[in-house]
């Protein structure tokens, strides 16, 4: 079983739609969960950061963590064409000295105007 699994998409939605992006993971020791946004041929940009279970909201973005199910989600409300990008979930591995990040494969999102 892979450590982090993410549906690669692509996911195409109309402008204004609510988008739900998801990841599952296998290592119950993960406690820090991140969502990064990556535009084509650019570096990952940190969007949301969540510790342990619960919800966190930032503008149109909501990150949700359910540790009991080993499942995390990112919701985007009122999606815009500028949200079109690849969304990467990442978890920090507490087993090492510097919390290396374990990434999902990324979900490619296209928001159609």
């Amino acid at each position: 079983q892979k450590e982090v699994e993410q549906d690669p998409g692509p996911l195409s939605v109309p402008e204004g739609a609510i988008v739900s992006l998801n990841c599952t993971y296998s290592n119950s020791a993960f406690q820090y969960f991140m969502w990064y946004r990556q535009y084509s041929r650019k570096g990952p940009e940190l969007l949301m950061y969540t510790y342990s279970s619960g919800n966190k909201e930032d503008g149109r973005f909501t990150a949700q963590v359910d540790k009991s199910s080993k499942y995390i989600s990112l919701f985007i409300r009122d999606s815009q064409p500028s949200d079109s990008a690849t969304y990467l979930c990442a978890m920090s591995d507490p087993g090492g000295a510097t919390n290396k990040l374990i990434f999902g494969t990324g979900t490619l999102l296209a928001v159609q105007p």
Binding site: Y36, R41, G96, T105
Partner: protein
């Protein structure tokens, strides 16, 4: 807003040649990382660096790779003898003291080995 910068943006090299990829982390950050992303694949951890030494490295980071902080601002990744399979985007990241879970990435260097 402070950001991680990387140079060059694109490097083309011949197989067997040495390359040095350069990064300037965010100025008050103390932890530095290199990740790579082969086209169409996941972002993968290579190495982390703290207090002028390697903290952790992956299986990918073999003897062909080395890292250095030659001065107070730069952080470099050297590949001694490049292989075709080293072709990838290489990302530098940094994090501040006590926040190694929150890493900020640079724009990447695209390495093409011919």
């Amino acid at each position: 807003e402070p950001e991680v910068t990387q140079t060059p943006s694109h490097q083309v090299t011949q197989m067997g040649q040495e390359v040095i990829l350069r990064c300037v982390p965010i100025s008050n950050h103390l932890y530095f990382y290199w990740y790579r992303q082969i086209l169409g694949q996941k972002v993968e951890f290579l190495v982390s660096f703290y207090n002028n030494e390697i903290s952790e490295k992956s299986e990918i980071f073999d003897d062909q790779f080395s890292v250095e902080r030659p001065d107070g601002s730069n952080f470099t990744l050297k590949i001694r003898s490049t292989k075709l399979e080293d072709s990838a985007m290489y990302f530098c990241a940094s994090s501040e003291w006590g926040r190694t879970d929150t890493q900020y990435f640079g724009p990447g260097t695209r390495l093409t080995v011919l």
